[in-house]
Symmetry: C2
Subunit: 329 residues, 2 copies
């Protein structure tokens, strides 16, 4: 009797110790669902997220380029903005974006809130003005009610618009990826190929930049660290912000969470195949030529980073009034 | 004891009789939630509905012009298609569209299924080809699984794509509008002003065309029946289909369900104010000049036609493969 109790107990302790050690020791961390958010602000932010009236044409919403049906991106090399303007850079995913240490590829926004108002008055994107966006929202009584619930006042500002959108974005995490289940101790959550791919990912050095809960998003790094990255895209990255030539082609390291959904890859959106993207990265960042077998293993590991996609019910947006600015196509 | 039983019973019978008579006698009929649909086909259709890969650019989905967050329309005079092409006519709502006796303003599609494939290969809209749309869907394993569940075979055709989208569209009804609650016997569901507006709506003759569950959608009628409707829109309506000059400016009578959400109004999308739209209709269709008080009453009644909007959870679309045609912007 004693024996049968002791055995399961020691097994349990062994399992707990494996779990604790993986979670503690692995350089990639578990993503948990968001908690502690302001529910009224999230609801307001969701309405604003889907509201095309934040754009000059009333045809482009946050969700146009960061589509929650497609991994939080638009799966285009670069996005289509006002009057079919093609943007200068690939749209990063909004999923788990809260984990990024800065926002945008070149880090010009310090957090989600600072980012959220950017596309609204970018002439190549939503092409509106902050003033008209605020006038639009303020002209709609139901929005006044939502702002009162979220902020305690019906006063509307672009700052509050951005804050509410950011609060909604904080809900957009993707927990329970197979990799996270494995981190938590479920050995069968990864295939042998995926485990081999993860080991390779660490051994060859990908992990140096792609770590943490978002498997990236924690630093700037030069695109083409050991060998130039060939691209037609003229973006100089961080250097455009700092005016420091040594920052040329430094970009925020993107998250690899849900990477199988967020093609095409890199800041120029030039690469459609995840395997090819892995091989290029190994080459230009690490000076390493991967065999097809090696890159396939890393791809298998990367596919284990696809988590549960947010379950988002479309809002029913409140109608405009006679005070609402009309769209300009 | 007998008395106390008889009194409530007779009250109940009176109520039942009021309900029965309204439902039977009023020319506007109740909308009930859809039943008896093929669940697997609805789910497939929802994925296709939100999938921008049915367009040449991979940026335009059914939902772009018939946005379920905004009354099933885009709230633009006419829609924005491929490469920012401005469409020739206002996008009608998809909500309750199943009740339309034909589809499109000029009735060129006999039902939802016949309509659904039209925008995909319209060069001013999604600008794709049916063949490429089918190749796109067929290149994605998860879609093959969904087609097998819905149709019993993974063979994919534009016909099946359209049928699945139509099945999803059949779920997009808006029951429990205040007007329907009133039809079912709840006297307090309408305000006195709304009741007066409905009486006026019938008395002056709007009801001749706008009746049935969708409050429209049951016939063609001439836009400018008693007086020409002034517009810059060159569309000749039904005549373009029949080549019969007597059909000039005949359009399908639109539904008035959720009309407060579906601005701007008319086939040319020229009128943003519902009250102005009511006054123009009375003028050019009925030869009647409404007072502001009269048109305001009718607007109040029309607002009682806003029903429960569909609760639609965004799908997580399955990713493309190396076989999937790439977007052409």
């Amino acid at each position: 009797m004693l024996k049968t109790v002791i055995l399961p107990l020691s097994l349990l302790m062994l399992t707990l110790s494996v779990q604790a050690s993986r979670i503690d020791q692995e350089p990639i961390k578990v993503i948990e669902p968001a908690t502690g958010l302001n529910t009224a602000m999230v609801e307001l932010g969701k309405n604003l997220w889907f509201d095309p009236r934040l754009s000059k044409s009333n045809a482009i919403s946050c969700n146009s380029c960061h589509n929650l049906a497609t991994g939080g991106v638009d799966n285009l090399p670069s996005s289509i903005g006002h009057q079919w303007t093609i943007g200068p850079i690939n749209s990063p995913t909004v999923l788990n974006a809260e984990y990024n240490f800065v926002q945008f590829w070149n880090g010009r926004a310090k957090d989600l809130k600072a980012q959220a108002s950017g596309p609204i008055d970018n002439p190549k994107e939503m092409a509106f003005t902050h003033q008209l966006a605020v006038e639009t929202v303020a002209s709609i009584p139901a929005y006044q009610t939502m702002f009162t619930k979220a902020f305690g006042s019906k006063d509307i500002s672009i700052d509050k618009v951005a804050q509410a959108i950011a609060e909604f974005e904080k809900t957009l995490r993707t927990p329970n990826a197979n990799f996270d289940l494995w981190l938590k101790g479920d050995d069968k959550a990864l295939t042998a190929k995926q485990k081999a791919g993860y080991q390779l990912f660490k051994d060859i050095g990908c992990i140096a930049c792609h770590s943490g809960p978002a498997v990236g998003g924690q630093m700037y790094q030069k695109m083409g660290l050991v060998k130039p990255y060939k691209t037609n895209n003229p973006d100089t990255g961080r250097a455009a912000i700092t005016n420091n030539p040594s920052d040329k082609h430094f970009f925020k390291v993107p998250t690899l969470r849900n990477v199988e959904l967020t093609y095409p890859y890199f800041h120029d959106g030039a690469i459609w195949s995840l395997q090819e993207a892995v091989e290029i990265m190994a080459d230009v960042q690490l000076g390493r030529t991967l065999s097809k077998d090696e890159s396939a293993k890393i791809v298998a590991f990367l596919q284990s980073l696809t988590g549960e996609q947010p379950k988002v019910t479309l809002p029913s947006l409140p109608p405009s009034t006679y005070k609402t600015p009309q769209p300009k196509l």
